[in-house]
């Protein structure tokens, strides 16, 4: 043992007791909250939140794929006005945290700049 650790107060028996007690207490607290979370999740009244991504995905999956393609083709025809060939269809990727942060930042700047007269 190096002199540094030999002098460290953690090696004192009474301090070691406090440390062990603290670790046990924190572990018990974490386990308690985890158990509470599991119980609350199991008894949650809304098992499939209506606006969650998973339920939306499930809803989308329940619609026949050719129906979705027909809607997309109709919308394309209606918007562009002449025959087009749809080469591929891909789902919209959810926004990343970075893009969300950027949006909030831009919105904040817009709010600041639009709320004052230029000097």
């Amino acid at each position: 043992m190096t002199p540094l650790f030999a002098q460290a107060s953690l090696t004192d028996p009474s301090h070691l007791g406090v440390l062990i007690g603290t670790i046990i207490g924190v572990a018990a607290l974490m386990l308690g909250i985890r158990v509470l979370g599991l119980v609350l999740a199991a008894t949650h009244p809304d098992p499939a939140p209506a606006t969650s991504g998973r339920s939306k995905a499930a809803t989308t999956q329940s619609i026949p794929e050719h129906h979705v393609l027909a809607v997309i083709a109709a919308a394309t025809h209606e918007t562009l006005g002449k025959p087009h060939r749809i080469l591929s269809v891909s789902p919209v990727a959810p926004p990343s945290v970075e893009s969300l942060m950027l949006q909030w930042s831009m919105e904040g700047r817009r709010a600041i700049y639009s709320s004052h007269r230029l000097r």
């Binding site: 002098q7 460290a8 440390l19 974490m30 909250i33 979370g37 969650s52 600041i112 709320s115």
Partner: protein, 428 residues
């Protein structure tokens, strides 16, 4: 305390055997010429191992910073400073070992005046660091970046979560006392629970000047854990089903910039009145908010750009060069390492516990994971929450609520700093 008269005397020593000629150079001459290696060889085993360890740790921090695991803005200057200062130890004029970077332990005024002309970072340290000015500069920058509108949109919710997320800051104090630290040191290390570097620096400078170097380094090293460790804590404590809960839509409350400015002015004045000792921190934070909400674009650009990033550069650099083995090695370091991680863990647990309380109070509609955003590492903890939620529910956006809690966390951390700095010196 080492003494040096001038740079000329300082640099005499490496060449004292120069007249012997190159052909007569033996091992001691070689070690005198390359004093970084020489001082390493002549050090005690503990210092030798520590110096090599800190050099490697510095390189590791740079690597982790570059990879994005830890905050690169801090870790790259800090890591380079750490590895360089431990490599660049030389023999000073009085025969003691030291560096030409900075001497944080100097107390004699005459010696300090000499050192200001020798150690190149000594002016930065004394004019920016030891009086807490650099923490205030960072706080001004944070103030400019904060949008208190998120807090004002949900004031009670945000403040409640922020108070819960201070569990580590409060609970670590008695534990630290139980582990043998005095009140001042215990309060300083407990402040790591708020995960806010400037607060920890300010508190330790006010209360625990002898230990502020290791406490500051431990604090900034551990702040990286909020990004790396908190997602696992969220996963462990909040089941996937509850993590996917969306934010209940409510009518958007429009907070005008005048209202935000009024909040900043009144908040700053009241807090300064209550805690004059921490007034520099409050003033700096709310100055940034006031400048932003007053629409002073030139000041916003200056404080949020050159001032904030300049302060961050010198903060990381100075913390790195303060990690010279003989300076930072203290018998209490091991205790500080344990208590620092404990404080951050407890704050995270407290935040999530607060999230569960809000989940129950709101009729089981609130996402409990948001609670951990009350830990005031703005905006990191809010981003961590959003990422954890996005992993299970890609279309759920909790960021506005999380940012409100996060910004409230900064304010509650400043208040706790004020309480500690004011009250602790009166405890016997």
């Amino acid at each position: 305390m080492r003494r040096r008269d001038d740079l000329g005397r300082l640099l005499d020593r490496p060449f004292r055997n120069h007249s012997k000629g190159a052909q007569e150079v033996n091992l001691p001459d070689f070690l005198d010429l390359f004093q970084g290696i020489g001082t390493l060889v002549k050090s005690s085993p503990l210092i030798l191992i520590s110096r090599i360890g800190f050099m490697l740790l510095g390189l590791l921090l740079i690597y982790l910073g570059k990879k994005g695991v830890l905050e690169p803005l801090l870790m790259i200057p800090m890591g380079l400073g750490m590895s360089s200062v431990n490599a660049a130890v030389l023999v000073l004029a009085n025969g003691e070992q030291g560096t030409l970077f900075v001497d944080p332990l100097v107390t004699d005024h005459t010696e300090l005046l000499n050192l200001l002309q020798i150690d190149f970072l000594q002016p930065v340290y004394n004019l920016l660091f030891s009086n807490g000015l650099i923490a205030c500069f960072v706080f001004m920058g944070i103030g400019v970046l904060l949008d208190v509108g998120y807090v004002l949109a949900r004031p009670l919710l945000s403040m409640f979560l922020a108070i819960c997320a201070e569990l580590g800051t409060v609970a670590t104090f008695p534990i630290a006392v139980g582990l043998g630290l005095n009140f001042n040191d215990a309060a300083s290390i407990a402040m790591i629970g708020c995960a806010d570097g400037p607060m920890v620096l300010y508190t330790s400078l006010m209360l625990s000047r002898d230990l502020f170097v290791p406490i500051g380094v431990v604090a900034y090293l551990y702040l990286g854990l909020t990004y790396g460790g908190y997602p696992y804590l969220i996963k462990f404590l909040v089941p996937e089903k509850l993590r996917a809960l969306p934010v209940v839509e409510k009518k958007t409350l429009v907070i005008t910039s005048s209202e935000k400015l009024a909040f900043a002015v009144v908040g700053c004045t009241v807090l300064c009145l209550l805690f004059p000792v921490a007034a520099p921190l409050f003033f700096s934070l709310f100055l940034g908010v006031a400048v932003r909400e007053a629409g002073l674009h030139y000041f916003v650009d200056f404080i949020g750009g050159p001032l904030l990033y300049g302060a961050t550069l010198f903060l990381g650099l100075t913390l790195g060069v303060l990690c010279e083995a003989s300076t930072i090695l203290d018998p209490k370091v091991l205790t500080l390492l344990v208590l620092g991680i404990l404080a951050l863990l407890l704050s995270g647990i407290g935040g999530i516990a607060g999230g569960y309380v809000m989940y129950l109070v709101s009729g089981r509609k609130f996402n409990p994971a948001i609670g951990i955003a009350g830990v005031s590492c703005v905006p990191t903890t809010a981003k961590v929450v959003q990422k954890s939620v996005s992993a299970v529910a890609p279309n759920v956006v909790v960021l506005p609520v999380a940012l409100g809690a996060c910004i409230s966390g900064v304010i509650t951390s400043a208040i706790l700093t004020g309480i500690y700095v004011t009250v602790i010196p009166h405890l016997k």
